[in-house]
């Protein structure tokens, strides 16, 4: 039986694009992985790699995740105990934080210390949401998720809040938008992107491939 990549479906937006992007990489690179979209904790509990997407508000996403019986426990077991590779996308990345400060304070999973705070760039004359393509600047160019990207690689962003890592070494890459904004974070077997790899054309597919081949 081939290894499984579980994309967690907790009612947060459309997972079709994410699933298709992962399937495309698996097929193109003959990785022999099964990509499954699931809301079942027992499927996640057996998965070899886990992807947590997410769009919408932090609190809503956290509540959606918690509404799935046994899901947070299964994720915790797989990621923190069994050290399975984990990829959080957009709000799925933000949920790793200790606290999210969007429409009040909400507890995150707390797996990567930090806070999710408003971009706060309006006074600089910048638009919110931060929407569009921004150039990735590697903070940890040695990290496996950043390998093989063009020096001027761009990724697609759409968000109004940013992740501030308690440990700056856990910020793997950033973009400039009224200051440095975390674009990719990582700790142990966990990574997350603020951008949408499934919407970032070749750059996004390269990051997905790096994740699927990553053996932390």
């Amino acid at each position: 039986m081939s290894a499984t990549v579980a994309i967690v479906d907790y009612g947060s937006g459309n997972l079709r694009s994410a699933a298709k992007a992962f399937e495309r990489v698996v097929a193109e690179q003959a990785l022999g992985l099964d990509v499954v979209v699931t809301s079942q904790a027992d499927v996640v509990a057996k998965a070899d790699r886990i992807v947590l997407p997410g769009v919408g508000a932090f609190g809503d996403c956290k509540a959606g995740l918690e509404s799935l019986p046994g899901m947070v426990e299964a994720l915790t077991q797989q990621v923190l105990i069994k050290a399975r590779p984990f990829f959080g996308i957009c709000v799925g990345m933000q949920l790793l934080a200790t606290t999210g400060r969007e429409h009040g304070d909400h507890a995150g999973l707390g797996w990567i210390g930090g806070e999710v705070v408003p971009l706060g760039v309006e006074a600089l004359g910048l638009k919110v949401p931060h929407m569009g393509w921004n150039q990735l600047e590697a903070d940890r160019p040695d990290h496996p998720l950043l390998q093989g990207l063009a020096p001027d690689a761009h990724a697609y962003f759409v968000h109004s809040y940013r992740f501030v890592c308690a440990d700056p070494a856990q910020r793997l890459a950033h973009v400039e938008y009224g200051g440095a904004v975390a674009a990719m974070i990582g700790k142990d077997t966990m990574v997350g992107t603020q951008f949408h790899p499934e919407k970032s054309q070749a750059t996004g597919l390269a990051v997905i491939a790096n994740f699927l081949k990553w053996k932390p």
Partner: protein
């Protein structure tokens, strides 16, 4: 640094691409999925489908177009036209759209925008505004593809829609649409300077200088065009090179 976006727009009717000249006199310009793939390869920053299917019986054709496009193009996709209730938005997002644009339905019932933003998040709610100049420095919004005057001031409306949760404004200069004379810059600038969210300039692009003007003078952060790209007058690469030469940050 955030780059300014170039967005080709495909008008889709009954599952086929058509091009609009002042919204009448439509010319078939091909299969939307094939065109989407070409724009994906060409480096377009986003893609927009405007569904102008009139018949209710054929409304479902857009979901199939969106589904097939999202399977093959890993780039942001916005879909507008005929979005009236939350279920329309849900179906488009499930088919693979990233954003939906709401136009006439917002004018009929502004609360729809608030409800949609609360349910799906501001990041996927675009409010499309069709505006015409009615007096110097005075702009009014129109509905039903520019046929119905509303008496609503475009700048006030844009501000209100962002307060209701719109995450982006797609602003079409109706008096310029199809004319190839360039965006209505005073309109674009008035709206872009009035709202905190990104504004996409649309309507009237006939050459690459117009794209530059929309951003440099109109203060939009994205430019939308249809015919100059569809009929090969200019490529996306030429558009980007021209904008870059004018000092506008674009994605390579």
């Amino acid at each position: 640094m955030l780059k300014m976006r170039i967005i080709p727009c495909l008008d889709v009717k009954d599952g086929r691409v058509v091009k609009g000249v002042n919204f009448v006199d439509l010319v078939d310009a091909g299969d939307p999925v094939e065109q989407a793939k070409l724009y994906d390869k060409a480096g377009a920053d986003e893609l927009t489908f405007l569904d102008i299917t009139a018949s209710v019986d054929n409304r479902d054709t857009i979901y199939d177009v969106v589904r097939r496009t999202a399977e093959q193009c890993f780039m942001p996709l916005t879909v507008g036209g005929g979005v009236r209730v939350n279920d329309d938005i849900r179906k488009l997002l499930l088919a693979g759209a990233d954003k939906v644009s709401i136009n006439t339905a917002a004018v009929h019932r502004p609360e729809f925008v608030r409800e949609a933003a609360e349910k799906f998040g501001s990041q996927c709610i675009v409010v499309a505004i069709d505006a015409k100049q009615v007096a110097p420095g005075k702009f009014e919004i129109f509905t039903y593809g520019g046929r119905n005057a509303t008496g609503i001031d475009a700048v006030d409306w844009a501000r209100r829609m962002t307060q209701y949760g719109a995450g982006e404004i797609l602003l079409t200069s109706m008096d310029r649409d199809g004319t190839k004379q360039g965006f209505n810059i005073p309109l674009t600038r008035a709206v872009a300077d009035a709202v905190p969210v990104p504004v996409i300039a649309s309507g009237g692009v006939g050459n690459l200088d117009h794209l530059v003007e929309g951003i440099r003078d109109g203060h939009a952060t994205a430019v939308l065009a249809a015919s100059i790209f569809h009929f090969g007058t200019y490529s996306i690469a030429e558009a980007k090179a021209h904008m870059k030469a004018a000092g506008i940050p674009v994605r390579p």
